[in-house]
Amino acid sequence: MIIAEHLAKNFQVKVGKGIFREKKSIEAVKDISLQIEKGKIVGLLGINGAGKTTTIKMLTTLLAPSAGTYFMDDMDAVKYPMEIKKRINMIAGGERMIYWRLTAYENLWYYGQIYNVPNSILKQRIEELLALVGLEGKQNIPVETFSKGMKQRLQIARGLINDPEYLFLDEPTIGLDAVVSKELRSHIKFLAQEKNKGILLTSHYMREIEELCDYIYILNDGCLIKQGTARELAADTFNRRNYILKLYEQSDDILARLDHNLRQYDPTTEVSGDGDCISINSSENISLELSRLCTQEGLFIREMYEKEPELEDTIIKLSKEVSA
């Protein structure tokens, strides 16, 4: 298990122009604590340059934390980064980080060698990984002829070449089409559930985080501001309820009447029309009152349900709160 506590990272940057530039310390990460269990996928979300990438770089030992502790299966990762490097790997989105003039096989062979993967198993592992990412039959083609999706799939294979216990995925599906993204998401699930790998995932796609992650950390300005499952985060962020009501007949008059009557139960209730839907936002559980009111008013209900807040709504709301 990865346990990182109170991680912080300061960078010294030069500001101003000319020869005599002033040095300034920037706190990219101020205080972040997180845990990653084997077999689980943990999401890292950020608002406004939150420090996601810096956090990943610290966890992958590419950066040394300025403060805090970081243990991987009881080994001090700050003190023994070389030992940690043997047990991890990182996959980033984009088309860099592979040798374009080399073939897919040659790329994987090279990375296998520098990770000291025994030659007796390397060939078989490369073949298995190429099959896993759907590049079997393409292993002897130079990477420069690959499509973006194929290069990204090769990245996934590259990140698994040392059979890492923990995998860090930095926006792995960025720029990929829907089909390839879906395939990659199923690979990621497979790696956690079937191969028992601990995975940290960052993504701008909320649906992806919501679909894959067992637990989510939300960062802002270098600090952890929320954590929990997607459901917990949404419930915790939204203390109001959203109802969707679809009627056989809808008009401005009906909206006004609903608004007026529902405010009798909860003065903060807001009623708005959105296409053929009526959206009702209230701080109270008004589902009973709402159905009763429709019966009284002679409105025939086509559909009525309480809409659970989504992770995306949570992030948007948190983003507005921190910007305010």
Binding site: L62, I88, Y99, I114
Partner: protein, 269 residues
């Protein structure tokens, strides 16, 4: 050790496949030194070499004298260029992945330098053929000292390449070293002009470059027929330079790794 050897071998294979994808690259490798050699050779023709201040340069052997200089320089230049090429790893993000891995950093540098040696050896062979065809009568050497001195030159060139590679790891802005080291190395190492003719300040600059000692040792063996005993001082200096550079490389690698982990500049390109 096994890990070191695997990384070293993988780096050689990777760099060779990555940069020597086309045979036309060998043509470009020869053209520049060849043009430079021709220019220098005809520059010498305007002087009366029978009155040369340098006793071992004569009108008969000036071609070989220059060819030996250019051969050694080409060896070193290939290694300098290997360091420059290594900076592309930063641009492509692969350097970050090398540092993400537990691979031995010295093995990576050595592999990268030795990969360039492949092209260097081919250049050496071509220059040798040139010499034998043009002026074999000017060559006066014993086999053992010749072999030893060439091995020494290759060793020095590889370690020099590793040293430059290690400096290039510091930041994306170390590319200026390529400009600073490439041309001055050719000017001050005695490739074209004998160092004995240099003023004191230029001799001091020449003393910095390992190529200076390499060229002098090769010329003494190949033109004078000097024995190993007679060039012992150059052998000793060469070995000491290699040891000093290897120690410097190890120290630099430790500093670079710490520097990268503090600044995070490995991702900047």
């Amino acid at each position: 050790m096994r890990s070191f050897v695997k990384t070293f071998a993988a780096e050689i294979v990777k760099q060779h496949k990555n940069y020597f994808y086309s045979k036309t690259i060998y043509i470009s490798l020869f053209l520049w030194p060849l043009f430079s050699f021709i220019t220098t050779y005809y520059s010498f023709q305007v002087f009366d070499l029978s009155k040369s201040k340098v006793p071992y340069i004569t009108a008969e052997n000036v071609v070989v004298y220059l060819l030996l200089g250019y051969m050694c320089m080409s060896l070193f230049r290939c290694l300098v260029q290997s360091a420059w090429r290594f900076s592309f790893e930063r641009f492509h993000g692969t350097l970050e992945l090398i540092f993400l891995s537990p691979s031995n950093r010295a093995a990576v540098l050595l592999g990268n330098a030795v990969a360039s040696l492949f092209e260097s050896v081919i250049i050496t062979v071509v220059f040798t053929v040139f010499m034998l065809v043009l002026k074999s009568e000017a060559l006066f050497f014993k086999l053992l000292p010749a072999v030893i001195v060439f091995l020494l030159v290759i060793g020095m060139a590889v370690v020099w390449g590793m040293f430059l590679n290690s400096l290039f790891l510091f930041s994306r802005d170390t590319n200026f070293l390529f400009t600073v080291l490439e041309e001055p190395m050719e000017i001050f190492s005695g490739v074209k002009v004998p160092i004995i003719l240099f003023p004191l300040w230029a001799k001091m600059i020449a003393a910095i470059f390992p190529l200076t000692y390499a060229i002098e040792a090769v010329r003494r063996v190949m033109l004078y027929g000097s024995s190993l005993y007679e060039i012992r001082i150059y052998l000793l200096i060469g070995i000491l330079i290699m040891i000093a550079l290897l120690i410097a490389i190890m120290i630099i690698l430790v500093i670079v790794e710490k520097h990268i982990r503090v600044t995070g500049n490995i991702t900047l390109f």
